[in-house]
């Protein structure tokens, strides 16, 4: 996938890291003379120092843990000084907890304003995985201000923005909070050349379907299988084929990874073996070299070859390990039923497939994921299935998951169809009977009646399921659907594409109505000569509640096609497992 020749250059986000690092060093050294850092775990601190400094997120649990340590010291008659550095900010609630634990006076505070961690050239994470549960499940808005502040940091460094788009309640709120900050600081920010022209806000609950799908682009798969943490992954012994695990940074600095991260998994192995062969020929050049050439070779090429070799063998190892896990019959069948769910065919078969999955205790999270996907695509399970699947699940994994189901219901991932809402069922049976375009028209007529039927209607409106006569060639992707083997274009990405193309929500009224009408578009600044054309084509996509690597890959593809560059700002990188885990209750 070669990019367009005129693709704009991305701004350098390393500055964010430098700022944060400098502030932390200042806080730790200048102010508190910190000598050694420990990881805060659920055990007592052994240090002999008479000063303790905690660097924590402003969570009640962390603060309580600190309180335990302080109280244990008190009981043991130890006198120490305590300092808590909250990052990115302190919440009043934390102070209340300390007060109730009776140590408010013993502790002093600081804040480390570290909002944004650039994971890669184009990915900036706020590393707030709890945002998803706090906002979408608990209705707790505490992080909205944090996100707005983070955005303001970007604005003051790379703005001013020309246009903002968004959809979702949280998007709207965050946008408004940020706007207020802009007004307040109008005089402080020096005008400079804008590097980022447009911003797109998107709530995670606009599209739950995409993150619930199995990922099949390489980076997504690695995340699903090995769990990428803060842009790096621990490859275990099964990958390294030795008995120690290796920590690998996954970003565009890794030349091998850079080329395969966005590829469909089926292409990756071929690519890697090709690469291996090329590497071999480069090594082979050594033969027939005279001494001088050899000297040059050793001093210049060998090191990078060695490095590439190491990475290559790691990725090949990872691929093998993924293949072992994923190319088994199960995975293929799983993908097949997922695609059937997305297309709305063979619902019954898929349901019993899920049931078997649960009965055989294959994987608790995987089963939940499939149930959610079923519910999302069908706009809720029919009552009978809802009950029986839940019963099965509880029998398999324990009764305490009744609370998990309560959470899933509240957040809307796994719901029961209300009577009178069986429309999708009608649709799906019709889908079985009539398999031509007439269905589309029929369902269109129905969907205006439906109160809540969303995914199916959205899918029809936005053409999320590419109808193809011939096989989808994953080597030469035609559209963003390639990230799901050509079966489905991620809803979130499609919305972004459409709105950017139209440069408005006009013509998308039906879509936004289905998504509860929280869309907005604002022109921040009229386009005058001062704004370079480049900035216009750099688009900040803000995912509130997390985004997946598949979505990132899809938008990268879109960017290459249209000559945009997307910069991803997300509260955290997520996938189906992380999302579901955050909703577990145990």
């Amino acid at each position: 996938m070669a990019g367009r020749w005129d693709a704009p250059e991305l701004p350098d986000f390393d500055i964010l890291k430098r700022f944060a690092r400098d502030q932390l060093i200042y806080l730790l050294e200048q102010q508190h003379d910190v000598e050694k850092l420990y990881k805060l775990e659920n055990k007592m601190v052994q240090g002999v120092s008479d000063q303790l400094c905690f660097l924590v997120r402003p969570r009640i649990a962390s603060v309580k843990h600190v309180a335990e340590i302080v109280n244990a010291d008190k009981a043991g008659g130890r006198l120490r000084k305590y300092k808590i550095i909250f990052t990115p900010q302190k919440f009043f609630m934390c102070e209340t907890v300390l007060e109730e634990e009776g140590i408010f006076g013993d502790v002093t505070f600081d804040e480390w304003a570290f909002y944004l961690l650039p994971l890669d050239d184009d990915i900036i994470s706020m590393e707030l995985p709890e945002f998803f549960r706090d906002y979408f499940l608990e209705g707790d808005h505490r992080w909205n201000c944090t996100v707005a502040k983070a955005l303001h940091v970007l604005y003051s460094l790379f703005g001013p923005f020309i246009k903002t788009y968004g959809i979702g309640r949280c998007a709207k709120m965050t946008y408004e909070l940020w706007k207020e900050m802009v007004e307040d600081s109008e005089n402080e920010i020096k005008p400079h050349q804008a590097e980022i022209g447009r911003v797109f806000f998107l709530d995670r609950d606009v599209d739950y379907v995409t993150p619930m799908c199995s990922q099949v682009v390489y980076e997504g798969l690695v995340d699903d299988v090995f769990r990428i943490k803060c842009g790096s992954v621990d490859f275990g012994s099964e990958v390294t084929s030795s008995n120690r695990s290796v920590k690998v940074l996954l970003n565009s600095q890794d030349k091998v990874f850079k080329e395969i991260r966005n590829e469909h998994f089926s292409n990756v192995f071929g690519f890697l073996s090709q690469k291996a062969r090329r590497l071999q020929t480069q090594y082979d050049k050594r033969q027939g070299m005279d001494i001088k050439q050899m000297k040059d070779f050793v001093s210049q090429e060998l090191k990078s070859l060695k490095q590439e070799h190491r990475l290559l063998s790691l990725h090949i190892g990872a691929c093998e390990s993924i293949m072992k896990k994923k190319t088994k019959q199960d995975f293929q069948e799983l993908l097949k039923s997922e695609h059937a769910l997305l297309e709305g065919f063979e619902i019954r078969e898929s349901t019993s497939c899920v049931e078997e999955h649960i009965n055989r205790q294959i994987s608790p999270l995987e089963s939940l994921r499939l149930m959610c996907l079923l519910s999302l695509t069908e706009n809720g399970l029919i009552s009978k299935d809802y009950r029986s699947l839940k019963t099965q699940y509880l029998q398999s994994y324990g009764y305490d998951h009744i609370l998990t189901f309560a959470n899933l219901k509240q957040i809307g991932l796994l719901t029961e169809q209300q009577p009178g809402e069986t429309l999708t069922a009608v649709e799906s049976t019709m889908g079985k009977l009539v398999t031509d375009k007439a269905v589309g028209k029929l369902t269109d007529a129905f969907s205006s009646l439906a109160r809540k039927s969303h995914f199916r209607a959205l899918s029809k409106r936005l053409n999320l399921i590419p109808r193809t006569e011939e096989e989808y060639d994953l080597k030469v992707p035609r559209n963003m659907a390639y990230v799901f083997s050509g079966a489905y274009i991620p809803l979130s990405c499609k919305i972004i594409e459409q709105v950017l193309e139209r440069d408005s929500w006009a013509g998308m009224e039906e879509v936004s109505r289905l998504l509860n009408n929280n869309e907005f578009i604002t022109i921040e600044r009229s386009l005058d000569a001062g704004y370079s054309c480049n900035a216009q084509r750099i688009i900040l996509v803000v995912f509130l509640g997390g985004c997946t690597f598949s979505e990132i890959a899809a938008l990268r593809f879109l960017g290459k096609e249209k000559g945009y560059k997307f910069v991803f700002v997300t509260t955290a990188i997520t996938n189906s497992f992380r999302m579901l885990e955050s909703l577990l209750e145990s």
Binding site: I60, A61, K64, F91, F92, M93, T96, V97, E100, D134, E138, G139, D140, H141, R142, N144, C145, M173, E176, L177, E180, N187, E355, E356, N359, R360, Q361, R387, K390, T391, Q392, L394, Q395, S396, Y397, G398, Y399, D400, I402, L403, A406, E585, S586
Partner: protein
């Protein structure tokens, strides 16, 4: 200590931090505070032999350290933080046996002493150098004795008053005596001395060089010539040209213009200022590219100064004083004198940014306005809003806070309504006990930290019922508080759900507590039973039924545990059955299968997996024949192959459904 011993004398002096004060206490000790706004007292060391007030003393600043110079009879001391040093001014004759007055120059560099012999000693304030001694021939001590700063010439000059005689003396032999009609008081300034009498206010200062040059009799300085040239020009006389030529021949036109501008700054009569400036402007015409800013700036400054010197305002400043003071402080002084319109006009005239100028003044005006008790709230609020509008940088909440301080709560609330930032309104609303409104505004602001602040406040202020009611109406606040309760006060959470009749959540609450709090089997069952009741109330039959089954399972597991001594509690139904099967307790497993209506498929899966695990192939075969398999026979093949027993696997291949048969055969080979 200061309180105990009474204050005998005190002197105020400027420091780097603000205004400092030195106090002489009744015990003849000195105490210092460097900033009267942030009072921190520091005591100076004791002065030896000081049993009565010193004859005279003053404060000095040296190297940013305050020091005290004091005279006790004929002994002179310098007091600083740590020590008290005795000093002797060089060059004084032995006949001196006492110092009656001390005067320090404005910059603390120089010092003058008046001795009881009528001499004035002038020297550096470090007492290292003597500048001169002047014989006054007065027998008595002067009523007042001050240093007159001459910034330009650096000649030491002191001014003293003896009754009605003003006595000016310096290094030169000459002294000036002038007789006054009234009693006068002297105030030393940065560039001279103010002489204030009951009817007059005079200022004694050195004539600045520019004015000297221009107005000296028969002066031929370029400025003087230029002024003359302009006068002739006004008279339309050709002499103007002659004068001008004379300056130009010496190539001094540039200096001439500058002199005129500078002199204008030091003149007090607007007429004279004008003619000097006009002359400068006239001269400017003959110089190409004379930088205009000095001229423009002087004209502006003079306008401001003249406005200040107007008798209704009464701030007669000299140009150097004005420069020293800066325009910002001048505006502050105007604000303190409530000369708001003048201050605003000056800000606009001097092009001071809105934020620092006009907005600030308007805010002060508004704060003053709210203190006018006789006017009704409504009209004040309206008047303020009318004047202030949406001026940037205005904080209505600050004005409202002022109103609240004056006890006008209603007015404060009215003013707060004009505050565009909801967040800013909250602290004051809380202070005024308008907590409900505060909660509303906090939520509006979108800052959940603020919301939580208000919630905590409400919690302490209201009774529980009202508090809960308030929360119920505010979902944002409620969910925040719930988060807090979940970790800190689970019981409160229960009360919250109770109040709301939220039986579903109550059920969930009991389930959670059954898992996390209860340790005994009875406790857990009891909690789950409460959950069943709540689920029933919530009409969630499914949950109620499932929970009842869980109770049943718990009891069963508990019984098993007692019988076998193995742990079964907290296993899921599936895992319990599996454990039983692995222990070959087929009867109990069957019992559970029936009691809990485990679907056939699941049971078959369970059974064959367990049997294969134990490699109990015989039992597996028996089981396969017990009745028709609901899961088909492919799983039998798979499970055998998994346990590497192809021999057993072969037994089942034949039974596999036709479409999977090929796959089955491939597996067994």
């Amino acid at each position: 200590e200061v309180l105990q011993n009474r204050v005998v004398d005190a002197k105020v002096f400027p420091t780097a931090y603000g205004s400092g004060v030195v106090i002489l206490t009744g015990a003849f000790r000195f105490t210092l505070a460097t900033n009267i706004d942030d009072l921190k007292l520091r005591r100076f060391p004791e002065v030896p032999g000081l049993l009565r007030p010193p004859t005279c003393w003053t404060v000095l600043m040296q190297d940013r350290q305050p020091k005290i110079v004091l005279a006790n009879g004929k002994d002179l001391y310098i007091l600083d933080n740590a020590s008290c040093t005795s000093v002797i001014p060089p060059g004084l004759g032995p006949q001196v046996c006492g110092f009656t007055q001390i005067a320090v120059s404005f910059n603390y560099k120089k010092l003058a002493l008046y001795t009881d012999t009528g001499n004035i000693w002038m020297g550096s304030s470090s007492f290292k150098d003597k500048l001169c001694i002047v014989e006054t021939n007065f027998k008595t001590a002067p009523k007042q004795f001050v240093w007159c700063d001459r910034s330009k010439s650096n000649n030491p000059t002191v001014v003293g008053i003896w009754d009605k005689v003003l006595f000016i003396t310096g290094e030169s032999k000459e002294t000036i005596k002038s007789y006054q009609d009234e009693d006068i008081h002297l105030v030393p300034e940065v560039d001279g001395v103010r002489i204030i009498s009951s009817s007059n206010h005079e200022f004694l200062h050195e004539v600045p060089p520019a004015c000297q040059d221009i107005f000296k009799i028969a002066s031929m300085a370029p400025g003087a010539l230029l002024l003359e040239a302009h006068k002739e020009y006004e008279k339309e006389s050709q002499k103007a040209d002659e004068y001008l030529r004379e300056i130009k021949e010496q190539n001094l036109l540039f200096e001439a213009v500058q002199q005129c501008i500078e002199a204008a700054g030091n003149e007090y009569e607007p007429e004279m200022q004008k003619s000097l400036l006009r002359a400068a402007s006239f001269g400017k015409c003959f110089i190409s590219n004379f930088p205009p800013d000095t001229f423009v700036k002087m004209a502006r400054d003079l306008r401001v100064l003249n406005a200040m010197r107007d008798y209704t305002v009464g701030i007669p400043l000299t140009y150097p004083q004005y420069k020293q003071l800066t325009i910002e402080i001048l505006i502050d002084r105007l604000i303190l004198r409530r000369l708001y319109p003048l201050a605003i006009r000056i800000c606009k005239y001097m092009k001071i940014s809105e934020l620092q100028g006009a907005s600030r003044i308007l805010a002060h005006w508004a704060c003053y306005k709210v203190q006018q008790k006789e006017e009704p709230d409504d009209s004040i609020a309206r008047a303020i809003n009318h004047k202030l509008g949406d001026t940037p940088g205005i904080s209505y909440s600050e004005i409202a806070a002022k109103a609240y301080e004056c006890g006008r709560i209603e007015l404060a609330i009215k003013l707060l309504e004009y505050e565009p930032k909801s967040g800013e309104q909250v602290p004051l609303l809380l202070k005024m006990k308008r907590s409900q409104l505060a909660l509303l505004k906090a939520i509006e602001s979108g800052d959940s930290d603020l919301v939580y602040t208000v919630v905590t406040y409400l919690k302490n202020e209201m009774n529980r019922g009202d508090f809960f009611m308030t929360l119920q109406n505010q979902p944002v606040a409620l969910s925040l508080y719930r988060q807090f309760c979940k970790h800190q006060e689970p019981e409160t959470l229960k009360d919250l759900f109770n109040q709301d009749d939220n039986h579903q959540e109550l059920g969930n609450f009991y389930v959670r507590s059954s898992y996390s709090n209860e340790t005994t089997i009875e406790g857990r069952v009891a909690a789950l039973q409460s959950a069943v009741d709540e689920y029933n109330k919530a009409k969630n039959e499914f949950a109620a039924k499932i929970t009842e089954e869980q109770i049943k399972l718990l009891r069963y597991q508990f019984r098993l545990q007692k019988e076998s001594g193995k742990t079964y509690l907290d296993l899921s139904l599936h895992d319990t059955v599996q454990a039983l099967l692995l222990e070959s307790k087929h009867k109990q497993a069957e019992q559970l299968y029936k009691d809990f209506k485990i679907p056939d498929k699941r049971f078959w899966w369970l059974k064959i997996t367990a049997l294969a695990e134990k490699e109990d192939w015989e039992e597996l075969e028996k089981f396969s024949k017990s009745k028709k398999s609901p899961i088909g026979y492919m799983p039998f093949v798979e499970i055998c192959v998994k346990h590497r027993n192809k021999y057993e696997a072969k037994k089942y291949v034949a039974k596999v459904s036709p479409e999977q048969k090929v796959k089955g055969y491939i597996m067994v080979g």
